[in-house]
């Protein structure tokens, strides 16, 4: 136990140390000939290669990529640097759900004046994530994760069922598959993945936070989210789908040995499937996300991030110029898709995405499906304490999933709502209602 505490302490000291040492980067500013040096924290693979193209074309602004471990550690590190007063980079990758937290901590800057008109280049739901529904602009969207449905076409063909287009059909398919082979499941309800559930709530029309004048509203326990929670709770209760978390060795094994035959996931799923279930290549197909109302299709997102300028940057203008190029310039978008392997957030990314992902080589309409899903995604506003709400999701839905009672799923939402509102009120946020 001692070792663990020491480890945690050492890790936080390291964070502090690395946060502090970052200040060395500042001294590189305004090097010879008025050349501007920018640092960029990102955890996207191969981002340095994308940035090389910028550097060779823009001799006046040099960007250095500083590879981060991932979304959570990068945010912790940034917040430490902000608190310390120095050491933050100029440009920072920020997951959409972290944007309000970072804005609230005064870590990322409003670049409305520098950014100009970028709004039209992005789907509304994505743009909303960097404005928080206000006039400000807290970053430029980089990638997004429109929800799609992935399934084992061999299993569906054998049972003579079609890919579900509505959630009713999904439930029916889940029952049929599990009945035909009690070891097979079409999906699982994962209490470990709040982002996944948020995307499904978004599709149903929920927007958990909102800004009304000078106060926040919190609507986690609204009718739309309740519909989603009781739907999945019902499937878990009747045993048509599993109740165990995703991303466990158990889940990987199930994907591999063909007992997990479907996955409600996002556009980046091919990469995960390729890594976790390589032996099933060629057996999977992609379909649009099942709908609540087939006549009025809607969608949600799971994952995605923006590129923001930090409040410590001394070169806001140049930094904004860089992030606008990175996320909207056709050449850069092509590199994002091809080299960094992310799904660009810009609306017209079709040129960059002509080839389907290798794991779905036969699915020529893969990126058409993804683009359609991105277009119908509903606007969703994240709040300043997403971390608290997501943590409440982990605990409350963990209990509900374990109990396998549909009623517990809806009461878990009530717990999430109270926990989130209480936290905001006790911190001093103005919360309506």
């Amino acid at each position: 136990m001692r070792k663990t505490i020491a480890g945690v302490l050492a890790a936080s000291l390291l964070l502090l140390a690395s946060g502090c040492s970052g200040s060395d980067d500042d001294s590189g500013d305004q090097a010879a000939g008025g050349k501007v040096e920018l640092t960029y924290w990102s955890w996207t693979p191969n981002m340095d290669k994308v940035v090389e193209t910028w550097n060779s074309g823009h001799p006046g602004i040099h960007v250095t990529v500083n590879k981060q471990d991932g979304g959570d550690p990068a945010v912790a590190k940034l917040l430490t640097a902000i608190k310390a007063g120095s050491g933050a980079p100029d440009v920072m990758q920020a997951e959409y759900q972290k944007v309000p937290t970072l804005v609230s901590a005064d870590a990322i800057a409003d670049i409305k004046d520098e950014a100009g008109s970028l709004k039209d280049k992005f789907p509304e739901s994505v743009w909303n994530s960097v404005t928080l529904g206000s006039e400000a602009v807290y970053g430029v969207p980089q990638d997004s994760g429109p929800l799609l449905f992935f399934y084992r076409s061999d299993v569906f063909d054998k049972l003579k069922i079609k890919a579900p287009t509505t959630w009713d059909e999904y439930a029916q398919a889940a029952r049929t598959i599990h009945k035909a082979n009690p070891k097979q499941y079409l999906g699982t309800f994962s209490a470990n993945d709040p982002g996944w559930f948020t995307g499904l709530a978004q599709q149903a029309g929920a927007s958990w936070w909102g800004v009304n004048g000078d106060s926040w509203s919190v609507n986690i326990n609204d009718a739309a989210t309740q519909k989603v929670a009781s739907y999945w709770g019902g499937l878990v209760q009747e045993g048509a789908i599993l109740n165990t978390p995703m991303y466990t060795p158990e889940w990987n094994a199930a994907l591999n040995d063909g007992s997990q035959v479907g996955w409600v996931s996002a556009v980046w799923a091919p990469g995960v499937l390729e890594g976790n279930a390589a032996s099933t290549k060629g057996k999977w197909k992609t379909a649009a996300l099942p709908q609540w109302d087939a006549a009025a299709p809607s969608g949600g997102n799971w994952g995605g991030s923006a590129t923001s300028v930090t409040t410590q940057s001394k070169h806001k203008k140049q930094a904004t110029e860089f992030i606008a190029w990175l996320n909207t310039d056709p050449a850069a978008v092509k590199l994002l898709a091809g080299t960094a392997n992310i799904y660009p957030a810009v609306t017209d990314s079709t040129a960059a995405l002509s080839q389907p992902p290798a794991f779905f080589a036969d699915q020529t309409d893969f990126y058409t499906l993804a683009a359609d899903a991105g277009k119908v995604a509903k606007p969703f506003t994240y709040g300043p304490n997403v971390n608290v709400a997501y943590n409440a999701y982990n605990d409350a839905f963990g209990k509900a999933a374990e109990s396998k009672q549909s009623a517990q799923f809806t009461s878990a939402l009530a717990t999430m709502q109270t926990t989130t509102v209480d936290d905001m009120k006790s911190a001093g946020f103005k919360v309506a209602g």
């Binding site: 136990m1 663990t4 800004v211 466990t248 300043p384 209990k399 374990e402 911190a427 946020f429």
Partner: protein, 318 residues
Amino acid sequence: MTVTSMRRRSTAVAAVDRPGRIRRGGPWGFLAPAIVLFIAFLGAPIGYAAYLSLRRVKVSGLGLGAGSRTEVWAGLSNYGRSLTDPEFLPSVARVGAYGLIVVPLMLGLALLMALLLDAGRTRVGGFARTAIFLPYAVPAVIASLLWGFMYLPRISPITDVLTGLGLQAPQMLSSGWILYAVANIAIWGGTGFNMIVLFTSLRSIPTEMYEAARLDGATDTQIALRIKIPIILPSLVMTFVFSLIATLQVFAEPMTLRPLSNTISTTWTPLMKVYRDAFVRNDVYSAAATSVVIALATFAISFGFLKLVGSRAFRQED
């Protein structure tokens, strides 16, 4: 060299001041490095944590933009919130139940193994000692990952074996078993260390005592129960206190197992709650308050126990 120069300096100090100063200042000079290190790496962080526990961040309005967050004095409100948190008492109770499983089983096993090894009946003593001690060298996180894989029914070799024998394998990560699943990892990892401590103190008992006992007709079991255990009682007390503290601080095992199942919440143990408050909710102030409470409880329980048994246990040594 150093000693001479040190002495010269103290003499010099004494010369300016008055003669009696040498005796009073000298020891402090020698203690200084230890005191400085203690203050820098223990005293100051603890003091800072205590200070943080009395502060909080106050947000105004929407909480967006510069200057909307200020750190203010919170009094004891963090303590109030920490102690009345509906998740806090259940986590304490859980750790209590966990301790009731772990401490007796682990120390019982350690004592039994130490006595068996000490009895000298086995020729593989050296190997056995290392083998029993080895799990202690495995970091708790690695051990939890190893066991976690064995607890997951689909990939566990244990499940395969049990099903092969026609038995129903227990769902180790279900709510009914999870406490035992975590306790098992702690026992696996901790028995070896405690066994070595007890074995070492068994080895320091003079063998004349056993000879005398044998002449009086004592059996091996009687020797173990009436001579060995009473003599190593101080060591037993010490391992007990260590185990108690480790129990109160259980963290790595449930933290590592958590993503594998639905049954471990992020506030499963008090320390996990501290971690959640500090690093998931970004509320270091509440986390500091809970840490202070846990530290005080640990001190109270450890010293309370030592006071309770200490005098009695150590008297045996005389």
